[in-house]
Amino acid sequence: MSTSSTTVPALLDVTDVSKSFGTVQVLRSVSLQVARGEVVTVIGPSGSGKTTLLRCVNFLESYDSGSIRIDGKEVGFRETGARQRRSERDLAAMRAETGMVFQSFNLFPHLTAAGNIMLGLTKVRGKSRAEARTIAEHWLGRVGLAHKADSLPAELSGGQQQRVGIARAVAMGPKILLLDEITSALDPELVGEVLEVVRSLAEDGMTMVMVTHEMAFARDASSRIIFMADGGVSAAGPPAEILAADTDNERLRTFLARFRASHF
């Protein structure tokens, strides 16, 4: 925190978070601060804990020690006394403050594109169906799918499904958006349309943490890049610094070299 250039507390404050799956430690004392409006990209080899970290932020996964705060509020555990998991109701309310977009889209197949977006608005935000529909149509328009409001997910391409996935997350008005390898399951020609949506959200000032293998996009769109290796933060800094070929972090250099080699 001493390196923070402002006095405004971070929107997302991850402090010393550790987690093990059985004997395998997947997160080792990870700390990470994200300021309002920042776009932070997490890169690293598979198994480095990137996705697990993201899933801890909205408590899809619990963690063994440390603290994760959004806007000053502890995410998964009660603030007082012993470390105690929040109630189901509290957890649901906390999760509604973070949006998440998944690698495999995870749209609800029995609901239309608009229905997917409206579910959280009506059941969690308490909007009327008419209000929710208006909001859903607004966000579908934003992701270029106004004409697909009444299509079922199975009738949409992968890129369109993922754009609905993004619209579903942002329509809830989250404080922070988590993007978990959202283009990894897409055909290459569909990646661009999804990244374009993310870019426009970034321009609007949406705070985002994304895990991605799209290095070019990470370089252009993020304010900071975090490199994770073996469950810990191995390097962090502005894109130009992290993605420089001559970095003196050996693990990062190997990762980037291997990455470049495999993407030609």
Partner: protein, 216 residues
């Protein structure tokens, strides 16, 4: 001969009504109990999962006839005296509940984990996730085996005649006892059971089609 049978029809109709009544009670009770226990099996804490697992495996390993006699003749030994009708309903319900648990586990288990996670991520509570995301999708997979189970319940209800309850089966036997017309009466009984179950299968197929738009 036909006149004798025609004369017995109101009596048979009473038996048929009782068959339907027993079936309906068993189907409704087992659906409620089975869904609750099935949710416990899939989502509950480990001790609850174990309890449901043991219940389901035990019940499904016992012949239904043994279960009926156990409830009627066995339970009085521990102070639980049930009238024959309710003993029969309880035994059939236990049997059916164990099956509903398995249908539910199969149907809910077939929904990808990502569906629950996406529902969590937008802030739905556990009950909301079940009601709006999991059950609507699981329904299509739950329905065929369940309707099959309902037809089994209608057929299985004939066993209550063994406790002296005058259902369709028992009514037929009594009329045969008076008229000695076994063949036509059993054919008539078979046709009635068949008509009920065939109608159920038709309804099931129609419902399945209605929900076939859900693709993963």
């Amino acid at each position: 001969m036909l006149i004798q049978i025609a004369y017995a029809l109101p009596f048979l109709a009473q038996g048929f009504a009782l068959t339907l009544w027993v079936s309906l009670l068993v189907v409704v009770f087992s659906l409620i109990a089975g869904v609750i226990m099935g949710v416990g099996l899939v989502y509950g804490p480990v001790p609850l999962q174990w309890a449901v697992r043991i219940f389901s495996d035990t019940i499904r390993g016992i012949p239904i006839l043994v279960l009926i006699f156990f409830v009627y003749y066995g339970l009085p030994a521990v102070g639980l005296h049930l009238p024959s009708f309710w003993a029969a309903v309880l035994a059939l319900t236990l049997f059916k509940t164990a099956q509903v648990v398995e249908y539910l586990r199969g149907a809910v288990g077939s929904i990808p984990r990502g569906q629950s996670e996406a529902a969590m991520a937008i802030g739905l509570t556990f009950r909301q996730r079940l009601a709006y995301v999991i059950f609507p999708q699981a329904f299509r997979r739950f329905l065929p085996p369940w309707i099959n189970g309902v037809t089994d319940a209608v057929k299985g209800s004939a066993l209550v005649s063994l406790l002296g309850i005058t259902d369709l089966m028992q009514a037929i036997n009594q009329v045969i006892g008076r008229t000695y017309e076994a063949m036509p009466l059993y054919v008539l009984g078979a046709l009635i059971y068949f008509a009920v179950n065939y109608a159920l299968s038709l309804a099931s197929r129609r419902l399945e089609r209605r929900f076939s738009f859900i693709r993963e």
